[in-house]
């Protein structure tokens, strides 16, 4: 039993890592007041470009970098539409997802079925990796896993304890006040959305470079949408993003573990999506009870002329 749990934890962390990247990025975007439903599209574009660049250059780092850049560029489309043109954020994000799914399919066509020639090696942390039981459990992952965990306290700190974080949050809560204090609402929102896209791109690259490692069309399979839900579950706090991402990583592992017991894989595949609905429902109850909610200016465009 213990062994089963340990193995499950060990598997849940990599399964949750793409979600963690995506959620951390979306937390920042939404904190600035921009909902980006394009996560699925940015993630899959990160996955395909990361794989393509890593495969053709033989350098995983260039792959990850390319994924971040492509994710960020995709996000800028959404930023332009929703911040500058002030179009409906729901529809613009949805369009971005469609665009990403379509372009990634075309870009990845010639990579389908290829094994990745280069790998991201697991890192041994001297001392920690050799500990009994928890050593192999927690300290034999690749750099992207550690980086994502490290980003949690860093992004939390930036958000709550620095000037930059205060500026970001004020733009998401009360853009008019921030504007009056001389903050460029536009600039902050562009940056936050682009950062979100870069994180989603890296999350996608983790899937295709480390987790799979292969390019499969549509391989994000709804992970980007779960990210949007996890952002709500996380009540826009990076710390809770970690919890949510690994929870869903665990569900993914559970799916594979329950399959040999004779349960239909199709029913098991419903699990993460049903759980997402449940989690959203519970979060809304919690939010109501604790009187916390989304950033006040989420989904509203800002303009000086109309207040």
């Amino acid at each position: 039993m213990l062994e089963f749990i340990l193995a499950a934890v060990r598997a849940a962390i990599p399964a949750g890592t793409p979600l963690l990247y995506g959620t951390l990025g979306e937390v920042y975007a939404e904190r600035s007041g921009v909902l980006n439903l394009g996560v699925e599209g940015m993630m899959i574009m990160g996955a395909v470009s990361g794989f393509a660049v890593a495969q053709t250059t033989g350098n995983v780092w260039l792959g990850i970098l390319a994924a971040a850049v492509v994710g960020g560029l995709m996000a800028l489309i959404h930023a332009f539409a929703s911040v500058t043109l002030r179009v409906n954020q729901v529809v613009s994000g949805l369009a971005l997802t469609m665009l990403g799914l379509g372009m990634s399919g075309m870009m990845g066509k010639r990579f389908v079925g290829q094994p990745l020639a280069v790998r991201l090696q697991p890192i041994n942390i001297p001392g920690l990796s050799d500990l009994p039981v928890i050593g192999p459990l927690l300290f034999r992952f690749d750099i992207l896993v550690y980086l994502s965990v490290l980003l949690v306290p860093v992004l939390w700190f930036v958000l709550y304890k620095t000037r930059l974080g205060v500026t970001l949050r004020s733009v998401g809560e009360n853009p008019a006040a921030a504007d009056a204090l001389g903050v460029s609402v536009t600039m902050v929102r562009y940056s936050a959305v682009a950062f979100g896209g870069m994180m989603a791109g890296i999350g996608g690259a983790y899937l295709s470079i480390s987790y799979a490692p292969a390019w499969i069309e549509g391989m994000t399979a709804g992970a980007g949408w779960i990210v949007v839900a996890l952002t709500i579950f996380a009540i826009w706090d990076p710390r809770r993003a970690l919890l949510g991402a690994y929870l869903f990583g665990g569900v993914r592992v559970l799916q594979f573990r329950l399959q040999p017991l004779g349960i239909s894989p199709n029913l098991l595949n419903m699990l993460p999506f049903l759980l997402t609905i449940l989690v959203l429902w519970l979060s809304s109850g919690e939010a109501a009870k604790r009187r916390i909610g989304s950033p006040a200016a989420l989904m509203t465009a800002f303009s000086r002329e109309e207040r």
Binding site: L94, M98, L99, N266, F273, I277
Partner: protein
């Protein structure tokens, strides 16, 4: 870095010619953008566009297929115009369509002996109920618990997908199917008739057009339609005026889900005569319907036209997939880019824009 600012001056009214002109410009710009994307991805855009146009609109057969594919798009798209008008972001029409297909299949399996004139209406009813049920879940979560309907309706698409697969791989897999994951063929009475020699199941088409007209009339001629429009444009004002937000939200979701369910019924009983895996029943009609609705500027009558246009795009998309060896997802590029330009162009109706650098 200097980001150009655009100043917005609100228009009091928007002339009709401007609505049309901005749409046409948006579509042209979308095509140009898609051409650039294709060029960058190594596909000759001129050849691709020509094949798409020829495939969807360039022959009698192509036009028949376009008409066939526009049937589910009209149904689901018209439903979405209503939902979006009431500001319910139902983006789960794809799931509602699939559940409609399941319910219709269930009815045909339960009553295989019934004559067509009873069985087919019962199946349409089943399809409507199935789709409506699938849309009621996000509606109730939204109105009672303030859970965002965008995410819940979309999550239910994935669940519906797996539900269809579960049935065709499991309990409903047919006996005469040589191992394929499909149900047995429906009884003859459960086949929607076609226009001879085509796949156009005209009863569904007639129902779709009638419903488009009805919903148009509902929106512009009735008190309820007025309440839906006010709720969508200004929820606070609607509340102060004493309009029942919960009732309106639930109603637009039931109707839009039900219409998507009818589309699913039309596909299984008008085209396949079986339940098949989800990707065989629908190449994403429920998602394309979102574009049908926005492209129609949320006008149910205009949705008939935009459904035909996007139906042709789907047919043409199939054609370039085969001719240019492109993946099925290619058509999503069209969906995404068109949607982006269409919503952006709406601005020109609402505002006068001035560029400030």
């Amino acid at each position: 870095m200097n980001i150009p600012r655009i100043r917005f001056e609100k228009r009091l009214s928007s002339p009709q010619w401007l609505t049309l002109a901005s749409l046409i410009v948006a579509l042209l710009l979308a095509m140009l953008t898609i051409a650039i994307i294709f060029q960058l991805l190594g596909v000759n855009p001129l050849i691709a566009f020509q094949r798409i146009f020829r495939g969807g609109f360039g022959s009698v057969y192509g036009l028949q297929e376009t008409m066939t594919k526009s049937i589910p798009l009209i149904l689901a798209g018209v439903g979405l115009t209503l939902a979006f008008k009431g500001r319910m972001y139902n983006i789960g029409a794809e799931g509602q369509l699939l559940i409609g297909a399941i319910f219709a299949t269930g009815v045909s399996r339960a009553f295989p002996e019934l004559p067509a004139y009873i069985l087919l209406p019962a199946m349409f009813l089943g399809g409507f109920v199935g789709g409506a049920l699938w849309a009621v879940v996000p509606a109730i979560l939204k109105t009672r618990f303030r859970v965002d309907e965008v995410l819940t309706s979309l999550m239910l698409v994935y669940v519906a997908n797996e539900a269809v697969k579960f049935l065709v791989y499991g309990p409903w897999r047919g006996t005469d199917t040589r191992g394929f994951p499909i149900t047995d063929e429906f009884p003859d009475a459960a086949h929607i008739p076609n226009i001879l020699g085509t796949r156009i199941h005209y009863p569904t088409l007639i129902i779709a057009i009638l419903l488009a007209v009805l919903i148009y009339l509902l929106l512009v001629r009735t008190k309820l339609g007025y309440e839906i429009r006010v709720t969508g444009e200004n929820p606070d004002a609607a509340r102060y005026a004493g309009m029942d937000y919960q009732k309106i939200a639930l109603l637009v979701m039931i109707i839009s889900g039900g219409l998507a369910g009818l589309a699913g019924m039309g596909e299984v009983a008008g085209i396949h005569y079986r339940l098949r895996p989800p990707e065989a029943i629908s190449p994403g009609y429920g998602f394309t319907a979102i574009i049908v609705a926005w492209l129609a500027r949320l006008n149910p009558l205009a949705a008939i036209l935009t459904a035909f246009l996007l139906g042709g795009l789907l047919v043409g998309g199939d054609a370039i997939q085969i001719a240019l060896n492109l993946p099925a997802a290619t058509v999503q590029i069209f969906n995404g880019v068109i949607l982006l330009f269409v919503i952006s162009s709406e601005l020109f109706n609402q505002y006068r824009l001035r560029l400030e650098v």
